[in-house]
Symmetry: C2
Subunit: 400 residues, 2 copies
């Protein structure tokens, strides 16, 4: 019998994710993996989650196990709205939609805002999971010029902005680069987007993970009528619950709710109630500083190893928060090929190319410093540094 | 500022769900609602779930709170494959994909199999949530003729089958009608679909809820190469966990996994592990008979009330399982209008029209007998019966 499945055009265009294939390899326990975007399990507040779960079973077991409203558990929506109501801005609970992980927010936005060929503006590079989610709806990506501080606002021309359905931004400790958009650029960006009538999608899973100083204001707080904000509990509590949220202007919220209903009816009542209980008594304000401390320390260790083991020709940033460092090697070095060699020596990272919506820069790579414990960072970076040094030398010899 | 959100064509076509609006009304505690498709919370195995949750926290808290594989938790996939390997058929764990509720399976199938204008065959009537999920991908529905036993297989012509991406079937205690497809029709259907090269999507959330006698074999067991099976733990454990699964031929499985990754990365690790623990020791084989007994009793009460309170002109089925009874009133009576009157008297049901992909039959309605306790069934049905009797009499007087 011939293959009887006629795939949709969007499914035909799906290719297996590079990251996904890599993560499979890194499941081998002997591999030191700087590839994963997984939070350190040492940061999971297990006792707190257990206490919260007990409370849910004691007080509302039937409601926690029953179907719930598509918008999400009302007290949790109220908590989120209150947390984002600051700096003179009021977010209403009616703007909040609980999603099954922040990833689902990307899918819902793609469904509701992208037609085939719609222009979608993305950073250079951008989050791979977003590119994949949006791609299913077959947009035309337009890459916005960026530097080590993020989006270069003045590079955005009227022509590039014209007709864009939205611009997708990760202002805080961006995945994959770890960079943070400075305050002045945020202000300029919000103004320019509003004037051009282009909504901003602000994806902010890492915003709370700033190692020092004050957090910068969210784009949402600067223009709540033109910004759709995506938040997540994955990096501040635990990702295995798959709990994220969208904050959207009411004009869009209703459509997102309808798309959510078709997607999975609602996010599990059980985990929503557990997280709500875990959040009580300002728990995050005590817990997040512990995560920051651990990650800042591991970031420092990795930066120190980069300084010692990587050749002068390699460039990288010094993140002020988040989970990632972005490394640029001399042009002509393909980090995809480098990865194959690294894995032979039981070290993994993510090649940078898939993070570019257009014109991949094959000489880039992403390092995560949070999942691997301190002693393994030193060990793995030494191996990787030696490999990179050899590659750079070989390249120099070949072109000499 | 003008509305800056340009919606996708699929989002523009989204209309608010009738059921959704109705469910909002029925949240008022004074309403006796036969509208909801919610399982009875009395069937939720709370002690068992709590025991399972404790085990997960004792034994693998970090893994349960961490990201997991997109395909799902391997032991749970193995359990599902084993449970569906019967009657000489072997289902491999590699065919199983855990979904965030069975509803997500509908979304993933739509994404992977439907292009704009693709022909999709559905029953008359069919599950509203499926029609909504598929509609986002803008198919051309073709309604397959059905009677009180379900799909009329011989009505399917070569022309109707030609070019269909799949046929969507609910053979067991269908939502909304409660009907079950007889064995001979199952055999004929599977054969006809295979010969026509049209895959079958078998949606089976209610299959375990047969009140008496043997369960009929699944379409999956009859032709695993041409059937995509959707299962759920919502009706046998609890819906608030949002845990379902797809079983698909490997040719399609990989694409579904990729679509799932873009949709929400994976279903919560936490709830997958809890459910896996809860299932151990053949728990379902002890638990499901209790659900059946409760639902069979409530079904009997509602049928008895229908016999006593509804006029002779109304027709309904006597389900052998599941959660629903389907009522057909004389032509010319609009159950949407009837609902408005019923709600004034604090009784709710779901009008049948939205369940039809084409040519809605406005004189039909769905009654759920599982959520409302026994004494309320009697009370609510008496009110509804009086209303229907008055409507039928008024109609007869008007046409006399």
């Amino acid at each position: 019998m011939a293959n009887q499945f006629t795939l949709s055009q969007r499914a035909q265009a799906l290719t297996s994710s590079a990251i996904r294939e890599i993560l499979k390899v890194t499941e081998r326990p002997e591999v030191i993996s700087f590839a994963g975007g997984l939070p350190s399990p040492a940061t999971f507040p297990i006792a707190r989650m257990r206490e919260a779960t007990d409370k849910v079973f004691d007080e509302a077991p039937q409601a926690a196990l029953q179907y719930g409203p598509t918008e999400g558990y009302t007290p949790l929506r109220e908590w989120i709205a209150a947390r984002h109501s600051k700096g003179g801005v009021t977010i209403r609970p009616s703007q909040v939609l609980i999603t099954t992980g922040s990833q689902q927010g990307l899918d819902l936005l793609g469904k509701v805002l992208i037609d085939e060929g719609s222009k979608v503006l993305v950073e250079t590079p951008s989050y791979l999971g977003a590119l994949q989610a949006y791609s299913l709806f077959r947009p035309a990506f337009s890459a916005m010029a960026s530097d080590e501080q993020g989006l270069i606002v003045e590079s955005l021309t009227g022509e590039q902005l014209q007709g864009a359905r939205f611009m997708y931004c990760l202002p805080n400790f961006q995945n994959p680069t770890g960079r943070r958009l400075p305050l002045e650029r945020r202000q300029a960006l919000v103004k320019k987007a509003r004037e051009a009538g282009v909504p901003i999608v602000e994806d902010d899973p890492y915003g709370e993970l700033s190692y020092e100083g004050e957090q910068l204001p969210s784009l949402l707080s600067m223009d709540p009528d033109n910004v759709i904000y995506m938040g997540s509990f994955s990096k501040v509590l635990a990702p295995g619950l798959r709990l994220g949220y969208l904050i959207a202007p009411e004009a869009l919220h209703g459509k997102l709710v309808q798309a959510k209903q078709a997607a999975d009816l609602h996010t599990p009542s059980f985990s929503q109630r557990i997280v709500y209980e875990a959040l009580q008594g300002d728990f995050l304000d005590r817990h997040i500083p512990e995560i920051r401390k651990l990650y800042a320390n591991q970031c420092e260790l990795m930066l120190s190893a980069l300084d010692r083991y990587f050749p002068a020709e390699a460039k990288w940033n010094r993140p002020a928060g988040g989970m990632f460092i972005w490394v640029t090697l001399p042009e002509g070095i393909d980090t995809g090929e480098l990865l194959a060699k690294a894995i032979e020596q039981n070290v993994a990272f993510v090649p940078g190319a898939p993070f570019f919506a257009t014109e991949p820069q094959k000489n880039t790579l992403r390092l995560s410093f949070v999942t691997v414990p301190a002693e393994k960072i030193e060990q793995g970076m030494k191996i990787l540094g030696a490999l990179v040094t050899a590659e750079v030398a070989a390249k120099a010899a070949a072109t000499a």
